[in-house]
């Protein structure tokens, strides 16, 4: 099963930190820097997701981030609603 939830990423980051501190041969500083940059990008995408949820007025669901959202409410006065891909 793919590990693509927010908690999985956090665990992965801590694992990288541990490996760095222990001086693991498989974890170079360059590699860790790349992972950090990717993590930052994912966090930024999560921020956008949160802002989207807030802007569309959806209530927070039990589902964690990085999950498909429910059908958004139509915004008042908006020229068009976000169309579902289906």
């Amino acid at each position: 099963m793919a590990k693509n939830k927010i908690n999985d990423l956090r665990d992965h980051l801590f694992e990288v930190i541990e490996k760095l501190q222990e001086g693991d041969e498989n974890m170079s500083i360059e590699k860790a820097q790349t992972i950090s940059m990717v993590a930052n990008t994912i966090i930024n995408s999560a921020k956008v997701e949160v802002e989207y949820v807030k802007a569309t007025g959806q209530e927070k669901s039990d589902q964690s981030l990085f999950m498909p959202l429910n059908e958004p409410k139509r915004l008042n006065g908006a020229a068009h609603a976000v169309k579902s891909e289906a």
Binding site: R10, L13, F14, I17, L20, I29
Partner: protein, 238 residues
């Protein structure tokens, strides 16, 4: 000795008035005197060719208007601008301002008591602690800072040994010490939720509150990412 022709009062007045403005040869020819005699009289009368701007800055004649200008503008203009406005050298203006006591800041002179306190305590206290204590003991409007203390220590050659430094550091880092308190209260070190939320929602207080209230998992993730970045930086710097 040759017979000297005495200068008349008229001649003296004439030379007094015109010595600075006119060429000495011209004056001599007009009065039918020798150039040397005119020079001699001028010397006796303490006359100079340089009445306004002398060879040295002390020869400058400051008019009341110039002094008034200095007094009015020394807080509004820099010394450079004052000098340019008066058509004088920067050093001249600087010296005159100092003479008149027109200083923009009050310099502090260390008293014997203050020096004594510093000498007595610099081995067992850090500069910050000494500055804080001195603010209580010898209050100063501008406030004592660690820079004041370290500078004076440098002047007096009051250097600490490695052991004394270590003892001061240990004292400050233990509970109750200043470094301990700073460390405990530092958001960037402890990474409080609010601080991480601010990092997430840069300069957006509303969103920062929203993250803090509704998305603790995102804050945890950001904290992990920041910790990783910090670890990388520490290891890179050796």
């Amino acid at each position: 000795m040759g017979k000297g022709r005495m200068f008349t009062e008229y001649e003296k007045d004439f030379i007094s008035v015109n010595y600075a403005a006119m060429d000495t040869v011209t004056i001599a020819s007009m009065l039918r005197r020798s150039v040397a005699s005119v020079h001699t009289l001028a010397y006796r009368l303490a006359l100079s060719k340089f009445t306004v701007r002398g060879r040295g800055s002390n020869r400058i004649v400051w008019s009341g208007q110039m002094l008034e200008f200095l007094k009015k503008n020394y807080r509004l203009m820099s010394n450079k601008k004052l000098a340019a406005a008066l058509g004088l050298k920067l050093t001249v203006v600087r010296m005159k301002l100092y003479q008149l006591g027109l200083q923009r800041m009050q310099l502090h002179t260390w008293t014997a008591e203050e020096i004594k306190y510093l000498k007595r305590n610099y081995r067992k206290m850090g500069d910050v602690e000494i500055a804080d204590n001195m603010q209580v003991l010898f209050p100063k409007e501008k406030k004592w800072t660690k820079q004041h203390i370290s500078k004076k220590r440098g002047y007096l050659g009051l250097n600490r040994t490695a052991g004394e430094y270590a003892a001061i550091r240990t004292k400050n880092s233990s509970p109750g010490g200043s470094a301990y308190t700073i460390h405990r209260n530092s958001s960037s070190i402890t990474m409080h939720d609010s601080w991480v939320a601010q990092k997430l929602a840069w300069r957006n207080r509303q969103m920062a509150d929203h993250y803090k209230k509704n998305h603790p998992e995102l804050i945890e993730l950001k904290r992990a990412e920041l910790t990783l970045r910090r670890t990388i930086k520490t290891l890179s710097n050796g």
